[in-house]
Symmetry: C2
């Protein structure tokens, strides 16, 4: 710290003759330290503290220290009691199928489990079942059970007289395939007794729904009273109706979409990339080692940004720092940062990183447009034919995408934006795409409730408007659409977890 | 691949007696593979391809292969020609100050450089200078020069008859301190001849402005004709007026803010964290080694998400995949992903990672509210007193923030959102905060132009409205506010780089 050691009492700085620092007009902020040049900074009376000769002390990084400590803890644990966190509580029902499941992109699950929980009683003619679809990372534990009294993720929405009324309905919630809470996913064992890891096949929302309907077969439920879901569950809820229109009664889709859009793909892309960049991810084969907890934490922090809204944070955190008396830090410092840090920390060992990758990818791939549906149908037929003929390479790794040789180039039009107008020149400017209208045609006779939230940035309200308008264009006369303005909720995408009054109320009214 | 080997021609699946797979109502999608149990999957006629006994092939990860290859290349380079990328072109003017700069948070730059470039001629009374402030990562190269004919970042906005008219004005653009394009920053050498790295002190927007005004002193420019900036430059532009009201004429602030808000802090937080998690970051001391190119790439990808808008991407990329004939991949796959990947790739060796950390942190810390200004003023006086008395530890590393002992807890109110209403109960519901009005009072007599863009999610349009309304509340009668709707620009935050017509036009009109 030669700089500090070399200080003397404040000397009014004299302007130099050499013209570098000429007359000043507004007195600059204080500059009273003795000048040091790179060549004269080492003084003989050295002593004092490290790091020697640095003008300023090095910053410290408690957040990285914490990560290192956690890796060390996890490493020690892996020597004692097996490495990977246990994601399942075990307090759920399990449907096991020995009949293989062919997936949309040619992968095969030779056998699979679906974990599920139920509330209420199935009536005599098995006509009162509601299938409740979850968001990306939720388990089947939507509500407490006798076996597991811990509150579920929709605890207040389910029960006697509640939004999903268990006096009237038999509510079923499953963990999706690809997940890690009891249903078959990348952390499950493949036939060779080893974890699937990234040998797990690419998955779609429709694959998840097909697995759920296998469970319904098992439960001898011919037709659902309702298919209900939020977020990814809102996608599944629509997909269930499109895939099995005769087996679904009412449909509720909350904060979901009929096809993913590039902004949400972008946000999920960044989450996947930060996770995959964690060296501990090891291309998915981390189950016998330290899990990629840092990458998971980061992915969850990014996700959390998309789950809430700016206006809510403005009210809740504002610009408050965790401790304003301290020096600012590159580690979490503002209250919003400690909130994100904690959200990531809480999640990073609670959920399987590979499940996050596969399921978030499935969300990206979701598209109920007719062209996409037909393309998938065609390729499923081809995969089936290959299987039938004993062919191989259903899901050939050599097909995994590589980047195009020519990197993405900014398009010339990008530099002249003001001449670009939104493509609203048709005679019916706000009409939904015809391809989507055709894709949702199987739902034209269903009663459908669509709910959106204006403060949602991940599944923005225009996507739910799109669903509702598209359904109306199929000729559906029974579409209800509710959009919560910012005066009713600032909780963004997470509103569906929190808003008992408007969302819970609308669901209850629609079902009764 | 025992599964494939074990296949036979399609056998219609018979329902099992055991009740697991009872009567089906809608024929499920094909399930024609022969059943395998975990114990019977190893058959004797093994041959064929690896990986043996996996139900599906492992995915491949070309994006990670590319990262590994790049690390190897960078490692090889470091053995030959010195490790770190050279960020500066060298084609700029350099102002060197041997007079130290005390920073707002107690750090000291014992000497510093400011890189700058100029266009047009300074007039006789030195009254026609415009100081142009940059965004986070830009250099002083706003426009081509004789020394460096490469187009600058505002090439089309500067020149004879352009928005910044070089027939009339002398335009100065600097690289901010903390940057890496010629001004002193973390990659610069400290007095000990070693890179500052994270021994560089915490920096503020106001520190950057003070360094710029040292340059103006050097150029004998008493008063600017105008202070102009976009994004971070829009912050600086206001800060220049607040710090040096008598030395600034007109003020233009485009897509900036008067204080950062939690959503933008959150987005920058995630960028910093992904960068700092890259093992190659090495707590900032990577200058003699492989730079954290993967972390930088990820940080830039996240940033890019915030620079553009969802509606633009919807138009531009939609749901197009880079190659729809290929299997979906966890590596970049959709066109939007290849775009982000390329944006990250292009940037990751072009900019110093530590500069990104320090400057993005400076943006978080920005707050022109009076309380914050007074607090900083007080602590600057204390730091000065310490220096005067020969005290140490101006910027003590032990003060670097650690997380609070009690992790962040979801507030009870979060579960009852519908009872929470935005805090608009005052008699003047839309009035800007009094603290901010007081903080901007030094600008009450300036002509100010504030521009915002409705599709901007990083510096949302309400922030520019806040600036304008706050200025009006200071009593300023010369505030112009322009907001570009989504019909005029879908380019989000990046609009300021692209929109010559509306933004360029408004700037030109305001200055002439």
């Amino acid at each position: 710290m030669s700089l500090v050691r070399g200080m003397t009492r404040a000397l009014p700085r004299s302007f130099k003759a050499a013209g570098r620092q000429p007359d000043r007009f507004t007195r600059p902020q204080i500059s009273i330290l003795r000048r040091h040049s790179p060549t004269n900074h080492r003084t003989s009376h050295s002593s004092a503290s490290a790091p020697r000769d640095s003008s300023n002390p090095a910053l410290s990084f408690p957040c990285l220290d914490a990560q290192d400590a956690k890796s060390a803890r996890l490493s020690a644990r892996s020597l004692q009691s097996g490495p990977e966190p246990s994601y399942t509580t075990g307090y759920h029902e399990r449907f096991h199928s020995d009949d293989p499941l062919l997936l949309d992109w040619g992968g095969v699950l030779p056998q699979f489990d679906v974990a599920y929980e139920t509330w209420g009683q199935l009536n005599a003619d098995r006509s009162n079942a509601i299938l409740l679809h979850t968001g990306l990372s939720a388990s089947s534990h939507a509500h407490s059970t006798e076996a597991n009294p811990k509150p579920g993720w929709w605890e207040k929405f389910i029960g006697p007289g509640k939004a999903l009324d268990t006096e009237k309905y038999f509510v079923i919630c499953t963990n999706v395939i690809g997940g890690c809470y009891g249903s078959t996913g990348p952390s499950s064992l493949d036939l060779d007794g080893k974890h699937y890891a990234t040998r797990f096949p690419i998955l779609t929302i429709e694959d998840m729904v097909r697995a759920q309907f296998r469970l319904l077969d098992h439960l001898k439920i011919r037709k659902l009273a309702a298919s209900v879901g939020s977020s990814m569950g809102g996608m599944q809820s629509l997909a269930a109706g499109v895939l099995f229109p005769e087996r679904v009664g009412k449909i509720i889709s909350i904060s979901g979409c009929a096809r993913s859009h590039p902004y949400s793909i972008a946000m999920r892309h960044t989450q996947r990339q930060v996770l995959m960049m964690d060296p501990n991810w090891a291309r998915g084969f981390y189950y016998d080692s330290i899990p990629p907890h840092s990458g998971m934490k980061l992915a969850r922090e990014i996700a959390t940004v998309t789950y809430r809204s700016g206006p809510e944070w403005e009210k809740r955190f504002g610009r408050k720092r965790a401790d304003p008396s301290k020096q600012p830090a590159l580690c979490p410092d503002f209250l919003i940062e400690t909130y994100l840090d904690h959200a990531g920390e809480k999640f990073c060992l609670e959920y399987d990183p590979n499940s996050l990758l596969y399921i978030s990818k499935a969300m990206d791939l979701f598209d109920l447009g007719l062209a996409h549906q037909l393309a998938i149908k065609k390729q499923r037929a081809e995969y089936q034919a290959k299987i039938t003929s004993g062919g191989k390479n259903l899901n050939d790794a050599s097909c995994s995408l590589t980047l195009p040789d020519k990197p993405y180039e900014e398009q010339p039009s990008a530099s002249t934006p003001s001449t670009q107008q939104p493509d609203r020149t048709g005679p019916e400017p706000e009409a939904p795409p015809k391809d989507l209208v055709a894709g949702l045609a199987p739902l034209k006779d269903h009663q459908v409730l669509v709910i959106g939230v204006a403060s949602d940035i991940l599944f923005p309200a225009w996507q739910q408007r799109e669903i509702a308008e598209t359904l109306v264009h199929t000729g559906n006369k029974n579409v209800e659409h509710l959009e919560l303005g910012e005066d009713l909720s600032l909780f963004g995408h997470d509103t569906f977890l929190l808003d008992l009054k408007y969302i819970g109320g609308a669901v209850q009214k629609f079902l009764n």
